[in-house]
């Protein structure tokens, strides 16, 4: 930053950290970890770290897709309902075929299919994606009970199946490996590839992208389908974790995911956002969740604190960018 004035350069370290892209998130994360380690002796243990990472990975997998979507200035509210439905599909197909691979594939295909319909409703029928995916959420919540009246039980008893959620690869929990791969791929795509550039551009100025000879609809289509497919992947893990396909799962999941993505600095207006920010934000929210249980605080705080954090994060962001961007 060549155009910084002397005043800024000598400014307080804290302010500079806060003004950097992830400074705020890193500071919050550090404070949380340090604070909780001091307050709860069991916080900084391997088993708790695994527990936190486990919980984070489900949210993170979907949040990566949601980050893409929000950057293109679209949103998907149906991810929670999709997650529940897809988890039932996963278990049902494994029961029918005795193949974990086919079940996983079916779940991902189902999730992607929902994403496809969302894309169609948004891009072809031109329904605002907020409304369109709320409607999709309702349709899925109803539809899942037309599909199964009750939780789909594990009738196959395939040994490897529970390991998807509870196993370890090189000492790392399997879902964490999935989430890390998804996040890394997402980060790499956004930061380093031509396609990633178009994701940002499509959210920043759709007409300009079209006039520059690209199809923003295709970019958005990809983001919807990818988000759906990632929900399907999360559903495979969820089905394994609960050892059942649960039509009642996923309530409020969409809000957690969106809150995390926004906290991570992705703009609701499109054109801005990072995967790293999303990763940090998911960790922050899940550590808060975990910390409240660790400290044996009233669990009602689990819905209050994220609300506060979200508003605070946006306020900091607003201050940083200045009123010109109001």
């Amino acid at each position: 930053m060549r155009d910084l004035t002397d005043d800024d350069r000598s400014g307080a370290l804290l302010r500079r950290v806060f003004n950097s892209e992830y400074g705020f998130l890193v500071v919050v994360l550090t404070l949380l970890v340090v604070g909780l380690s001091l307050a709860a002796t069991n916080f900084l243990t391997p088993s708790n770290a695994v527990a936190i990472l486990h919980q984070s990975s489900l949210v993170l997998i979907v949040a990566v897709g949601m980050t893409f979507l929000l950057i293109t200035a679209e949103v998907d509210i149906s991810v929670g309902a999709n997650l529940a439905f897809a988890s039932c599909v996963v278990m049902d197909v494994i029961n029918q075929t005795n193949s974990v691979a086919l079940g996983a594939l079916a779940g991902i295909a189902f999730g992607a299919g929902v994403g496809l319909i969302n894309a169609f409703v948004t891009l072809v029928l031109k329904v605002n994606s907020l409304i369109g995916t709320i409607a999709m959420m309702m349709a899925l919540q109803g539809g899942v009970y037309l599909y199964t009246r009750e939780a789909v039980q594990n009738h196959h008893q395939i040994e490897i199946f529970p390991k998807i959620a509870t196993g370890f690869i090189l000492g790392i929990p399997v879902p964490v490996v999935f989430a890390a791969v998804v996040a890394l791929a997402g980060w790499f795509y956004l930061a380093r590839t031509r396609g990633g550039r178009l994701v940002f551009a499509s959210g920043a100025n759709e007409a300009a992208v079209r006039l520059s000879g690209y199809s923003p609809a295709r970019v958005k289509f990809g983001a919807f389908v990818m988000t759906g497919a990632l929900v399907g992947l999360a559903a495979v893990i969820l089905a394994s974790l609960l050892n059942a396909g649960q039509p009642t799962a996923g309530t409020g999941f969409e809000l957690t995911v969106i809150a995390a993505v926004l906290l991570g600095g992705t703009s609701l207006m499109g054109g801005r956002g990072t995967i790293l920010g999303t990763v940090l934000a998911v960790l922050i929210l899940k550590i808060i969740d975990n910390g409240i249980i660790m400290l044996r605080w009233n669990q009602d705080l689990q819905i209050i604190v994220p609300g506060l954090v979200l508003i605070l994060a946006l306020y900091m962001d607003q201050k940083k960018r200045g009123p010109a961007h109001g």
Binding site: T193, R194, G195, R197, V209, L211, S212, G213, Y214, S215
Partner: protein
């Protein structure tokens, strides 16, 4: 309004009157910039004062101070000799100053009449909107001014020039003593400009003082009594228009002499690059034309004639119902921008903000958007090559910026336009469509854009220029097509084109 007595007294010779508005020693600083530095001017009832200067000269800051949007650091504003202290736009309005901004400040969803009484909605004590009175008063003003407007039409359904009439009517509805017009003709057709001047003359007769801000010199000479020139936030000169020549005005504005505004180099015209046959769409009817390599072809037409529609149709942005478009012999099928770009034609939109710029994106990202493939190796971006290429264009076009990473929102209009042109040049086109490329750009930058257009044609590009500015059209084009209500109504060569015949075709 009861101004007619003033009108007969004042219109004859405003020189005898006391200034309606007097500004003395106005200064205003923003962080890092001194936008206004000790500026003074005065305007009398019935006088049209032209305020000139390049972008960044301080015109808009001055207007915003007069409109009560900004507060001056020092200096004084007097209206009829009474010192004013504006803390918000309402104060300025109450004092009798009405600014007609370039970006029209109307509520699109509201009716014409409601827009004229936005400030108070003619509400009485109970704060109730008096709809009947609003429409009655609006109609009364239209009758007096001779405007053919329907008070119940929604503003969003009006043309730009009609919207401007609404803005002016609004000033009349407020009994404004001083009307400031910020580039009022930037989106008007010549016929509409003539109409506007009629309106200004009527206002002048009503004893209203007018501050007229424009870049277009020929307009200044037609309408203004006095010229005030600003440069770099400082006052440069105040003279009666009669004592100016176009050259002397430009010199005052730019601080140097500009020899030729419209360069036209000798160039060889090659094969036909753009061939359009029987093009029809929602707003276009059977349009056929061709453009050769090395040729600048101008398209002229009044507002709504279909220039932008043609531009958007031939690059595949807007759908067509019929017709054949070929670029260098290849059909534009499927009809999409993806295909048109592959064939080598691109459009520079008239609307920079909504169809060109990614406002929060960096200069580099804006510039390289079309040419991403050139910096892609196996799907990965080569950031170093990208930056290097962008630096080259910044140097070549003398784009003024702090650094490549800065958001493009902070660049001036002229520099933004250069970045957007670079976007296509970096990609490398056979044909380029420029829709109003100099809209909202100051004189100095305009000359640079004109030179660039000439250079492109000299390099063998087919250039299609959509413009509503007659001097630009005549100065740059090798051939001219004229559109009227979506039909082609005339074709001229550079040699046989006259302003009269073109206008005649445009209203056919």
């Amino acid at each position: 309004m009861g101004k007619s007595d003033v009108a007969t007294a004042g219109a004859a010779d405003f020189h005898d009157l006391a200034p309606a508005l007097a500004v003395t020693g106005l200064s205003k600083s923003f962080p890092g910039v001194k936008a206004l530095d000790d500026v003074s001017l005065s305007v009398r009832p019935g006088e049209v004062l032209a305020l000139l200067g390049e972008n960044g000269a301080g015109k808009s800051t001055l207007i915003k101070v007069l409109a009560g949007i900004h507060k001056a650091d020092s200096g004084q504003i007097e209206i009829d000799g009474v010192p004013q202290d504006f803390t918000n736009p309402a104060d300025a309005l109450d004092a009798g100053i009405k600014v007609v901004f370039q970006e029209i400040a109307l509520i699109p969803e509201f009716s014409v009449a409601e827009n004229m009484f936005l400030e108070d909605h003619l509400a009485g004590k109970a704060n109730l909107v008096n709809w009947r009175e609003i429409h009655r008063r609006a109609q009364e003003i239209f009758d007096r001014a001779g405007f053919a407007l329907n008070t119940r039409a929604k503003v969003k359904d009006l043309s730009v020039s009609e919207q401007q009439l609404v803005e002016i009517s609004r000033a009349m509805a407020r009994d404004a003593r001083i009307v400031i017009m910020d580039e009022p003709t930037s989106s008007l057709t010549p016929a509409e400009v003539t109409h506007l001047f009629g309106v200004i003359n009527r206002l002048r007769k009503l004893g209203i003082a007018i501050v007229y801000v424009s870049h277009k010199l020929e307009e200044i000479f037609e309408i203004a009594d006095t010229c005030v020139v600003l440069r770099d936030g400082r006052w440069v000169s105040t003279k009666p228009t009669s004592e100016h020549t176009p050259a002397s005005l430009v010199k005052d504005m730019v601080g140097r002499e500009i020899t030729s505004l419209f360069p036209h180099s000798d160039r060889t015209v090659g094969r036909e690059i753009v061939q359009v046959e029987d093009l029809s769409s929602k707003r276009l009817d059977d349009i056929s034309f061709h453009v050769r390599a090395g040729e600048v072809v101008g398209f002229f037409g009044l507002m709504g004639a279909g220039r932008t529609e043609v531009a958007k149709a031939i690059v595949g942005f807007d759908p067509i119902t019929k017709g054949r478009i070929r670029i260098d012999g290849e059909d534009l099928k499927p009809h999409s921008t993806v295909r048109s770009k592959a064939l080598g034609i691109g459009l520079l939109s008239e609307d920079r903000k909504t169809e060109g710029l990614m406002l929060d994106g960096s200069v580099t990202r804006n510039m390289t958007l079309a040419a991403l493939d050139q910096f892609t190796r196996n799907g990965l971006m080569d950031h170093r090559a990208e930056t290097k290429q962008a630096e080259g264009f910044v140097d070549r076009f003398a784009i003024k910026l702090a650094r490549l990473g800065q958001p493009i929102r902070n660049l001036s209009g002229g520099n933004q336009q250069k970045v957007l042109l670079s976007r296509w040049l970096m990609f490398g086109l056979k044909a380029v469509v420029l829709d109003e490329p100099t809209r909202g750009i100051d004189v100095g930058a305009k000359a640079e854009i004109f030179a660039l257009i000439d250079e492109l044609a000299a390099q063998g590009l087919a250039v299609i220029l959509m413009t509503s500015e007659m001097p630009e059209l005549l100065g740059l084009s090798d051939r001219i097509y004229v559109l009227s209500e979506g039909r082609m109504t005339g074709e001229f060569t550079r040699e046989n084109a006259t302003q009269e015949e073109i206008l005649d075709a445009a209203i056919r």
